[in-house]
């Protein structure tokens, strides 16, 4: 996998100026995405995972200030002019969101919305775009697609709307699909269907996926590798199996231990992480997790831990040298 880097994020910082102070939503994040890889960005609310994913298409809303570099085939997305960016969005990098009801236009027929992307990016005519849209819906498991294509979003169930979003996202055969909590609004039986669909389609198309989620179970089942985010930083990263088997950072350890598991009926107490996540305002240059960490030491309160380790790494003073 090494060498075939599709996307490289370098020292990404995203700041929001608010009345209470500057919120460091993302604080020095770097990562790489390889061709055909499925990468998970895992974290709780406020960890910066969603705004990171928005920045990959330069979609961070004002007053957000973004700095750093996001290299896609050697070109910096953050420095691209508008027309170049528009050619990229939806064509070579596509995005699907958590709630398909708010990301589909309720006034337009499903077919119109699907055809728009195809006509814009692929220059298809009205007729050809429609035929292609029917094909795509069918590939995404929508029965009776030729009839359904003339319906409106409210006539689709939540799971079906997410299938439409996936059809739209994959319509131009993108190199990267960014999926922001694509199944969090869905029931488990529907979630299983949708994850299966994303896996099958992206594998057959060779699409790389960035999956943003808070659900460790979803990551375990779908991602090749993952980055754990806390307070705007990546605190641990590595191949999925390695991170789950041998989590290094106390936050990752706590997160894995705090989830009740279906396959391990326990009678004891859950290992909860005490305290609350920080608000992102006025974060000092130290480890952001130290107030909640039961293994915090002197340096944790004073200096920002470096990320150590190759392949599987963590940013924690327990590992001043590579673990």
């Amino acid at each position: 996998m090494a060498g075939d880097i599709l996307l490289e994020v370098q020292d990404l910082n995203i700041r929001f100026d608010t009345a209470e102070g500057v919120v460091k939503a993302v604080d020095g994040v770097s990562f790489r995405l390889h061709r055909g890889e499925t990468l998970g960005l895992v974290g709780e609310s406020g960890s910066g995972k969603s705004v990171t994913s928005l920045s990959l298409l330069n979609l961070v809303p004002p007053p957000g200030r973004v700095s750093g570099r996001i290299l896609f085939h050697g070109r910096d997305i953050l420095a691209m002019p508008g027309n170049e960016l528009r050619r990229l969005r939806g064509d070579r990098i596509a995005m699907i969101f958590q709630d398909p009801m708010t990301s589909l236009n309720p006034f337009l027929r499903i077919g119109t919305q699907l055809a728009e992307t195809l006509r814009l990016h692929q220059g298809l005519g009205r007729r050809a775009a429609r035929d292609r849209a029917v094909e795509l819906l069918r590939a995404c498991g929508i029965q009776d697609a030729a009839r359904r294509i003339d319906q409106y979003p409210h006539q689709f169930s939540g799971g079906m709307r997410q299938r439409v979003m996936i059809a739209q996202g994959l319509s131009c055969g993108p190199e990267i699909l960014i999926a922001d909590e694509p199944t969090s609004a869905l029931d488990v039986t529907i979630q299983a269907q949708i994850l299966e669909l994303v896996k099958e389609l992206t594998r057959s198309l060779g699409t790389a996926v960035i999956l943003i989620t808070h659900d460790l179970g979803v990551v375990a089942g779908t991602c090749d590798s993952l980055c754990v985010m806390y307070a705007g930083r990546i605190v641990e990263r590595g191949p999925t199996t390695a991170v789950f088997q041998d989590p290094l950072h106390p936050y990752t350890q706590g997160l894995i231990a705090s989830v009740p598991r279906l396959d391990r009926p326990g009678t004891g107490r859950l290992a909860a992480i005490p305290g609350q996540p920080p608000s992102g305002i006025g974060l000092p240059e130290c480890c952001p997790f130290h107030p909640r960490c039961d293994r915090a030491m002197e340096p944790c309160r004073a200096r920002r831990p470096p990320e150590t380790g190759a392949g599987h790494s963590a940013a924690c003073w327990l590992y001043p040298e590579a673990p």
Binding site: Q193, A220, L262
Partner: protein
């Protein structure tokens, strides 16, 4: 089981629509004993929240009985209902929507006490009330220094602690908890689940615990009922249900729930259900799950299976486990 605290039988909650009727709850029976936790699981639209609301009389049931300590709440009105309901309080899912943003934490927790005091249902002096609010805040892990703060000054987990303190104010025997942890982050969810367990051990509370997360329910519940389209599909002691699910829907639900372990996930066999949960305004003929069931038989389309005993304390509504009527 000892004398049940809550006994629900034949509970129905129907909503009239422009065309037809929405059968949100369509004939549900269960019992909860003192200190026991019944987990109620199912997907959106299956009627689990409606069941809790009908039990609490927030929606008046269309039919059925709700016996709390032997008194049928459905028959009671006004002050009598308020008095009888004191033993049963509710905890809601969304700690953002369920707390009045203009009341302080202290006022929110004291509100149930004030309601019962002003109606002459509770003898409590002002200082006693103050002391109880402070004790409650302390018990749920909130410093009573925060009593004058407003909901927006608290995080989601802390707000759910306020919701819990408020529900506990009248010292009830039973809490109806409607998805109380599903809006919370996992690290906070574990804190609140532990708090639920501690409070149960300390006060001998019983819970009706509604959740869509099967692992969460396994952690808290002593018995579990699985709902589908307004009915209970299967009910059993928790350990038994997870070890030996009988209804095809329960089996699919368990196999669809992700497990946070890549090695387990890679080797798991999934039952992927086709189709969506149908709407509850369908005609009530046949098994409600028949459309999506991979073990469907002919009889499932024409007869509705009843919830029947299939083992000790294990009930299931499925023709795979009971012969249909009129067959040899």
């Amino acid at each position: 089981m000892s004398e049940p605290l809550l006994e629900v039988s034949g509970l129905k909650l129907h909503f009239p629509l422009r065309h037809g009727v929405l059968r949100a709850v369509d004939g549900v029976d269960f019992r909860i004993g003192p200190g026991e936790t019944l987990g109620l699981v199912g997907e959106s639209g299956c009627g689990k929240s409606s069941t809790a609301r009908a039990v609490a009389q927030l929606h008046r049931p269309t039919a059925g009985r709700v016996l709390l300590k032997g008194r049928d709440l459905v028959q009671l009105r006004g002050r009598e209902l308020i008095a009888a309901r004191r033993d049963m309080q509710m905890v809601f899912q969304d700690p953002y929507a369920s707390l009045d943003p203009r009341m302080t934490a202290g006022d929110l927790i004291a509100e149930p006490l004030r309601i019962y005091r002003t109606r002459g249902l509770l003898a409590l002096s002002r200082p006693e009330q103050e002391a109880r609010v402070a004790a409650l805040m302390d018990r749920v892990g909130l410093s009573s220094r925060f009593r004058n703060r407003y909901p927006h000054e608290f995080s989601g987990g802390q707000r759910q602690r306020i919701g819990l303190a408020r529900a506990l104010a009248l010292q009830p025997a039973l809490l109806l908890c409607d998805e109380p942890v599903s809006a919370l982050d996992v690290s906070i969810q574990a804190q609140i689940l532990n708090l639920f367990k501690d409070l149960q051990a300390e006060f001998g509370l019983a819970y009706l615990f509604i959740a869509h997360d099967l692992a969460v329910v396994q952690y808290v519940a002593s018995r579990v009922a699985v709902m589908y389209l307004g009915r209970i599909a299967e009910q059993a002691p928790a350990a038994e249900l997870y070890r030996n699910p009988l209804h095809p829907y329960t089996q699919a639900l368990l196999s669809a729930a992700p497990i946070p372990d890549p090695q387990v996930e890679r080797t798991r066999q999934r039952i992927i259900l086709s189709g969506d949960v149908p709407r509850a305004d369908r005609a009530a003929v046949g098994c409600p799950f028949a459309d999506r069931c991979w073990r469907r038989m002919e009889v499932c389309r024409v007869q509705t299976p009843r919830l029947q005993e299939a083992g000790p304390g294990h009930q299931v509504a499925c023709f795979l486990h009971h012969p249909a009527e009129g067959t040899p």
